[in-house]
Symmetry: C2
Amino acid sequence: MSGDARPAVVLLSGGMDSATVLYWARAEGFAPTALSFRYGQRHSAELQAARRLAQEVNCELVEMDLDLAKFGASALTDPEIAVPEGPDDGIPATYVPARNTVFLSIALALAEARDIHDICIGVNAIDYSGYPDCRGEFISAFEKMANLATRDGVEGRPFRIHTPLIDWTKAEIIRAGVRLGVDYAMTVSCYRADSDGRACGTCEACRLRREGFETAEVEDSTRYQE
Amino acid sequence: MSGDARPAVVLLSGGMDSATVLYWARAEGFAPTALSFRYGQRHSAELQAARRLAQEVNCELVEMDLDLAKFGASALTDPEIAVPEGPDDGIPATYVPARNTVFLSIALALAEARDIHDICIGVNAIDYSGYPDCRGEFISAFEKMANLATRDGVEGRPFRIHTPLIDWTKAEIIRAGVRLGVDYAMTVSCYRADSDGRACGTCEACRLRREGFETAEVEDSTRYQE
């Protein structure tokens, strides 16, 4: 990484989308600072994946603790709510209330504190179209709000939210990632991954991931349980 | 509190403004759930004050830990940065990057998880005009973003952010609070309060508070150090 690369905060969950964004940011000439959350998600193997990915691209990983599980109301954080096997009608049970708003807000706080003005997030409006906080409309509204909320925003040093994957299919993400050098065996998408990060193969996230590899005609490097 | 009061999340720092909002919400017929943060602020006596205030109005207090001090860049969270004695030019050193954005986002997550659609925050654009995230423009942009970000927002159960104090002077806040029954001796505004919540009397927050009592012609009940 050259010394004058433009810094960027990259939200890194350890899943395939955010891993692809991390490599995309590097290829675009950004010097990334990755940001991950321990928010009470069931699939904490993701965090291990985030650490390995950050190490791989040689960037700092800032880990934040935030107990959103205390609020419940999502299959991802509340053990009482089952993770759905198939596609839901409308917004899935895995929706975590206001999650991307919370994550982007904290990314904004980190960015402003460190004089960084670019924030990258792997939202995608195609395959996961049920999540309201993965759409371009939401991102535009967040960016506008961010530039009214902050010292840098009001003083003419605006923040920009980058969403390179927003219009890509899962297959397009995988093809781009492979070109960029992402090792998807390191990433965890499964909502029910075991502690070693191996996937269940049957949840909605596994299904989309598997279909993505098939459509992209890329060998599925996912490590499955069994 | 009647059983059919409309629920609301009230951001409660333990300072005089948020205490006034808590009592305002109750008087408006809301059943408040208070939300406080342990975010690495120097003046943690505020949290004790928040607990006492929540007890006083008999509402639940949800306490969240979020280590914004890790990011630094504010006199409120970074011991290396001095708390200013007098008014700053422009945005004060006590500005915490994106703080209200982060707090409102987490309030939104709590609200949506509990099927609450009203959020109350004690921002004030008059006396603390240096903070960009205390202005009506910011609040409007946040509300708009929130209703694009969330399941309830996009499904026609919108969130509303209430800012009853936004155009009030400190004196007006104090007069309203006294009418509503707030005991300001329980609140902590000082940036350098001791562990018992007693105020330094000389920081910018103390100065504004003292002037507020003088202008309101209300006896200053603040407990000062020495």
